[in-house]
């Protein structure tokens, strides 16, 4: 069976085609393409502009994907689209495109939870059986474990998402949003060496990032004002933007690894899967690996093709649901900004 997946909950428009072999076995990726709306440095992506971007590109991307996959309309079994969570306007643009294709081709629709898409794709690619999942992106920060047909949220960010924290700090420093603000922060962090004191906000398995962002923002402002240079209290070295990026990453990633470890201890799992855009970060992967190996386990992560929002994960999770008989009628093919991971009945797992 083949599914077409459309994703556009944030600034990436993704289209993917996946094949689930009839006799089982690993899924085959027939096409997985993406076009990203990049805002100028110092600016975030606005819903209106992002939606416009998605509308302008969706037809081109679907055509290109069908061509790359070398499939015809008849081969496609269902059209999967992101129902939420995400930004309203971009979600709507893509939902409209999905409905249009459904009517045009006479195919069933499958509305997919974005977070579940990430989790299922991560499991498929890495082969992780029953991992604790850390889902970290611009819009989400969740520690998730599976239990009786639900992906249950054990911990989450109580205010802004970790990716949002990183993105907004990139704006503060006027760092380029190309290819992604988080990527550029990661590169700068590699050159940082002085660790500055930032708040560390973990409460049980939850955490919060807005206080950290406010502190690092004000440190950046101080650096800006003080032309003679601020010096680190212990090393006496001049504090750089690289040090700020380094300190921010070290602090927020330590928090993420900690809440993940707590969830692992709680459910007795030694596997951890990182999904979502921030999951591309090599330092986060490295830290998580150190934690997991100390627990006698291992970390599973994917590269940017799957970590960053994409259409293939929507196609994959949608097809899993479709195969259990799940479809979304035209009347119900809405989208929603709020859609919790644990609302989805995971019928395709035991």
């Amino acid at each position: 069976m083949i599914a077409l997946g459309l994703e556009g909950s944030a600034n990436k428009l993704g289209v993917g085609l996946i094949l689930h072999p009839p006799k089982g076995g690993p899924a085959q990726i027939l096409a997985n393409i993406r076009h990203t709306f990049i805002s100028p440095p110092g600016e975030g992506f606005l819903p209106k502009d992002t939606a416009k971007h998605h509308r302008a590109w969706v037809v081109r991307l679907v055509k290109q994907a069908m061509k790359e996959a070398n499939v015809s309309v008849d081969d496609v079994n269902c059209i999967c689209y992101t129902k939420g969570p995400g930004m309203g306007a971009p979600l709507q643009s893509v939902a409209v495109a999905a409905r249009m294709l459904s009517l045009l081709w006479g195919k069933e629709l499958v509305g997919v939870n974005h977070c579940v898409g990430h989790i299922e794709m991560g499991r498929e690619i890495t082969g992780a059986q029953n991992p604790v999942v850390l889902y970290v992106s611009g819009g989400n920060t969740q520690v998730i474990a599976y239990a009786s047909q639900r992906y249950r949220i054990f911990g989450e960010a109580l205010d802004i998402a970790v990716g949002n924290c990183l993105d907004r700090f990139a704006r503060t420093l006027n760092i380029s949003n190309d290819p992604a603000p988080g990527y550029n922060i990661e590169q700068m962090a590699k050159k940082g060496k002085n660790l500055l004191d930032l708040p560390y906000a973990v409460k049980g398995m939850d955490c919060s990032f807005s206080g950290i962002l406010a502190t690092v923002d004000s440190l950046a402002a101080k650096l800006e004002q003080d032309t003679t240079g601020c010096r680190d209290e212990t090393t006496g070295e001049i504090i750089t933007h690289e040090d700020l990026c380094f300190s921010l990453q070290e602090t927020v990633f330590a928090m993420l690894v900690e809440i993940t470890e707590r969830a692992m201890a709680h459910v007795g799992s030694s596997q951890v899967l990182i999904v979502g855009g921030v999951g591309c970060n090599e330092r986060l992967q490295e830290m998580m690996g150190m934690m997991a190996s100390a627990r006698g386990g291992s970390v599973f992560a994917t590269d940017e093709r799957f970590c960053i929002d994409n259409g293939i994960m929507i196609a994959h999770a949608g097809l899993l649901a479709y195969r259990t008989g799940f479809t979304t009628s035209l009347e119900e093919s809405t989208c929603t900004q709020r859609f919790r991971t644990d609302e989805v009945l995971v019928k395709w797992r035991d």
Partner: protein, 291 residues
């Protein structure tokens, strides 16, 4: 679930000299709990060791370890001073070493009094087993209510002095053996690791009665404790216990009400907290999120 090989980290000095070596009781995400002895081998104590986390930047690691050990120890000492039943703190080490031991790395420890007894969780599990066989269910229920009452009272006292436990479960409530308690009935372990006894219902009934009616309630594990006098924080603290109780001891949910009843009667401000608890229940802890 695949069985993972989790080899606990080596204990730091001075416990490298300890004879016999401390026995590992439980391992959480951040801390390992050992049974050992204090200054003489006849004086049992619990050792909570927070190893250094290699994934963290060493500066951050030292800062966090120190902060957590100290905040836990401070809370416990403060509570004990205020007359609340918690294990006494016997020793603390959370400073980085200098000189010859400097290579011992980060991490820190706290020694505390050993609580001889069993967890409320194990006790309630034993009650559940006994209930089936003894045929005196109502008597047992009444005894459980008696225990719940004492739990409610101590929780109210804790909140009154501004301590929020942060992780209330029946595993974090120890029931200390009474003075008349015969020894060797249960293998009590601090920090939620007592083992329930397996003797048959008729025999265990008097023993259960003793623990349920006279056992002293001791609060343990203040690793997530905070200071607050806000009704909201107190209500959430109770809500966490209520949820944990409901999922662990569904058969005793009725008796749990006695905790809240006693809580409400124990101080003037407690009723407001219970009112707030109703709101917390309705809203649940988790917000609906924006994608």
């Amino acid at each position: 679930m695949s069985a993972s090989v989790f080899s606990p980290p080596h204990l730091p000095p001075p416990f490298v000299n300890t004879v016999p070596p401390p026995t590992l009781i439980s391992q959480g995400a951040e801390a390992l709990l050992y049974r050992t002895h204090f200054l003489q081998s006849t004086h049992p104590c619990a050792l909570k060791y927070r190893p250094s986390k290699p994934y963290r930047h060493p500066t951050l690691d030292a800062r966090l370890t120190k902060h957590r050990i100290l905040s836990e120890a401070r809370t416990m000492v403060r509570m004990r001073k205020e007359g609340l039943k918690v294990p006494g703190v016997l020793g603390v080490d959370c400073e980085p070493a200098h000189g010859d031991n400097a290579r011992k790395g980060g991490g820190g420890w706290m020694m505390m009094e050993w609580v001889e007894g069993q967890t409320a969780k194990d006790l309630l599990v034993a009650v559940k087993e006994t209930r089936k066989s003894c045929g005196r269910e109502e008597v047992l229920r009444e005894q459980v209510r008696n225990l719940m009452h004492r739990i409610g009272t101590i929780l109210c006292k804790m909140h009154e002095i501004g301590v929020i436990h942060g992780d209330l479960t029946t595993s974090n409530l120890m029931i200390r053996h009474g003075a008349q308690q015969p020894h060797g009935i249960t293998d009590g372990h601090a920090e939620g690791h007592g083992r329930a006894n397996n003797t048959s219902g008729i025999e265990t009934e008097p023993i259960l009665r003793e623990a349920l009616v006279n056992g002293e309630v001791v609060l343990i594990d203040f690793g997530l404790a905070t200071s607050s006098i806000q009704d909201e924080d107190k209500a959430v603290d109770l809500y966490v216990l209520e949820r944990a109780f409901g999922s662990t001891h569904p058969e005793a949910e009725d008796e749990f009400n006695e905790v809240l009843k006693a809580y409400g009667e124990s101080s003037r401000g407690a009723r407001v907290v219970l009112k707030r608890l109703e709101d917390v229940r309705l809203r649940g802890r988790k917000k609906s999120m924006i994608g």
